[in-house]
């Protein structure tokens, strides 16, 4: 069975064998942070991680959202969760967002924060972790704590936390 379609190679483009036009959209976006995340970002400046609690089922959401996915009721109570937690999963990245190789591998993880409901993890970087301990599984289930940017340098961003690092004695 012969199927339709005409493949070409990148070199065909470079050497002018494939007619084409180019376009470079220059769209920029400004996301209003919204009711739940505005408070979350403001509190990061104070070194606090905030969640929102559903008073119907008791779930504490991190990142916070204004309604409960299960009950579909407002989550009306702010709760400060800890800046410590457990590594749910971790990986070693050798590539950047554009697929280019990174100079130095980066360890990233999903961290379940203490004080949030079970399974409410957040994405962040891990520091002071040997990539080998990711590959051999040792980092899984380990306790970690946030390393914050100095207060005067915080901007109200998730990057106000520089990374999470393993806690001593764990």
């Amino acid at each position: 069975m012969k199927l339709p379609g005409t493949p070409y190679k990148d070199v065909d483009l470079k050497e002018g064998r494939i007619p084409y036009v180019e376009d470079k959209p220059d769209a920029k976006y400004r996301f209003s942070a919204g009711i739940a995340m505005s408070r979350f970002l403001e509190e990061l400046k104070n070194g606090r991680i905030m969640g929102l609690k559903c008073l119907n089922c008791g779930r504490i959401y991190v990142p916070p959202r204004t309604f409960c996915s299960y009950c579909f009721k407002p989550t009306s109570e702010w709760v400060q969760v800890k800046d410590t937690g457990i590594v749910n999963t971790a990986v070693v990245s050798y590539i950047a967002a554009d697929r280019g190789r990174m100079d130095k591998p980066l360890v990233v993880a999903v961290i379940e924060l203490d004080g949030a409901s079970p399974g409410m993890g957040i994405l962040h970087k891990l520091g002071n972790v040997d990539p080998e301990d990711v590959k051999n599984g040792k980092i899984f289930g380990k306790r970690v704590r946030a390393v914050w940017r100095p207060e005067e340098e915080r901007t109200g961003s998730i990057t106000d936390i520089l990374y999470f690092e393993p806690m001593e004695g764990d």
Binding site: S93, A97, G121
Partner: protein
């Protein structure tokens, strides 16, 4: 879970399917590719566009094609000129979801004959589609950390490996199997005879994900023709019935999910099984095309679909159960890992493969057992939707 309403008016049959080649770069535009696949499917079914009452198009993020509202751009190319025409989009789940949407068009009694087309062109975006994927993430929580798409897969794969003590060697077997199966597929882009060592020695992108754990970037299109029972019997002696459909979405907050078990798919599967009257999927499904953009995802999805117990899919794979001559052949087409991954088209290619398998028209790819019931599945949005169709002869 609320009780599903599974009442519908018409039984729905697949009566034809068509594909283009799947390749890294195609000269044809998105419109030209869609037309080629649609034409193939109509020819295969023995219909012309005049016979078609409505058209469903599936295509994934506009950012790949660089044309915003790609659905409208494709209208006539998909056969939708001056007809009731609908684009559906659930990311990677789109290809199978397009078949589901086509199904409800006919099952509802609103239309008798529907053309379903899925198309993707990923080669347009420069320098690499990876960068577009960066923009599917939450701009507040995830993007400032420099997230790339492979992170989320790697984090899920690592959690799955950790929870069930699964070795990379066993996961790599999926890539080996699917790339080998694809050697017999006429559309295949990355069919190859490779070994587990080749996978383990390939470039590490985000450990544990390596180059050969992943499906490629692709261009391509696929199409199927659906009709009600009356027309199906008029057009063909060998209709393949869609007996169950299901879909379900998990939260967009992916770091809040159970990363070791795809719950979204468990619910989607339950819905489809109930509709098809299937109590024991492992025994009653004869052949399945499960979504395999990554090798671990085939295993993950087998478990979500209850085709294997939790943590058992790698064992079934190692024992050869999922080979074409096994008891439960998985991805006899070669899947996304072997045939390629033009996103929406790849999902519909899976529906087409089950159509051919159940008709015993899969040629060298035909599974050894005598298949009566097959399943096709895809996965997508922010890794949170399961889309399932169950087909029977």
């Amino acid at each position: 879970m609320a009780r599903m309403n599974i009442n519908f008016k018409n039984r729905v049959a697949v009566i034809g399917a068509g594909l283009t080649l799947f390749r890294r770069r195609m000269y044809e535009t998105t419109r030209e590719l869609a037309w080629e696949a649609a034409k193939q499917a109509l020819d295969n079914a023995g219909l012309t566009l005049r016979d078609i009452d409505a058209v469903v198009l599936g295509t994934a993020p506009d950012a790949f094609d660089g044309i915003h509202m790609q659905g409208e751009h494709m209208t006539d190319a998909a056969g939708g000129y001056m007809k009731p025409y609908t684009r559906v989009f659930v990311g990677g789940g789109t290809g199978v979801f397009a078949a589901i949407a086509g199904w409800w068009h006919v099952a509802s009694g609103l239309f008798d004959r529907v053309l379903v087309v899925a198309e993707e062109k990923m080669s347009t975006v420069r320098p690499h589609p990876q960068y577009v994927f960066h923009h599917i993430f939450d701009p507040i929580m995830d993007k400032p950390l420099g997230v790339n798409l492979i992170w989320i897969f790697a984090l899920e794969m690592a959690r799955y490996m950790y929870k069930y003590n699964i070795k990379k060697e066993d996961i790599a077997l999926v890539s080996v199997k699917n790339k080998r199966n694809a050697l017999d597929h006429p559309a295949a882009q990355v069919a190859a005879k490779i070994t587990v060592e080749d996978v383990l020695n390939s470039e590490v992108l985000v450990w544990p994900v390596q180059r050969l754990d992943i499906s490629p970037v692709s261009d391509g299109a696929a199409a199927i023709v659906l009709t009600n029972e009356e027309y199906a019997k008029q057009y063909t002696d060998t209709p393949v019935w869609i007996e169950g459909v299901g879909w379900s979405l998990d939260t967009t907050y992916w770091t809040n999910r159970d990363l070791a078990f795809p719950k979204y798919l468990y619910y989607a599967g339950k819905m489809a099984y109930k509709m098809a009257g299937i109590d024991n999927p492992r025994k009653e499904i004869d052949v399945a095309e499960v979504y395999d953009p990554f090798d671990y995802k085939e295993l993950h999805h087998m478990e979500g679909l209850q085709l294997a117990r939790k943590g058992e899919a790698p064992i079934l794979t190692r024992e050869g159960v999922t080979e074409r001559d096994g008891d439960l052949p998985i991805n006899p087409s070669g899947g996304l890992l072997g045939v390629g991954n033009p996103i929406a088209a790849a999902g519909l290619m899976k529906v087409a493969e089950i159509f051919w398998q159940l008709r015993k028209e899969a040629g060298k790819r035909q599974v050894a057992k005598d298949p009566v019931t097959g399943l096709a599945q895809a996965w997508g949005d922010l890794m949170q939707i399961g889309t399932v169709v169950i087909m029977r002869v």
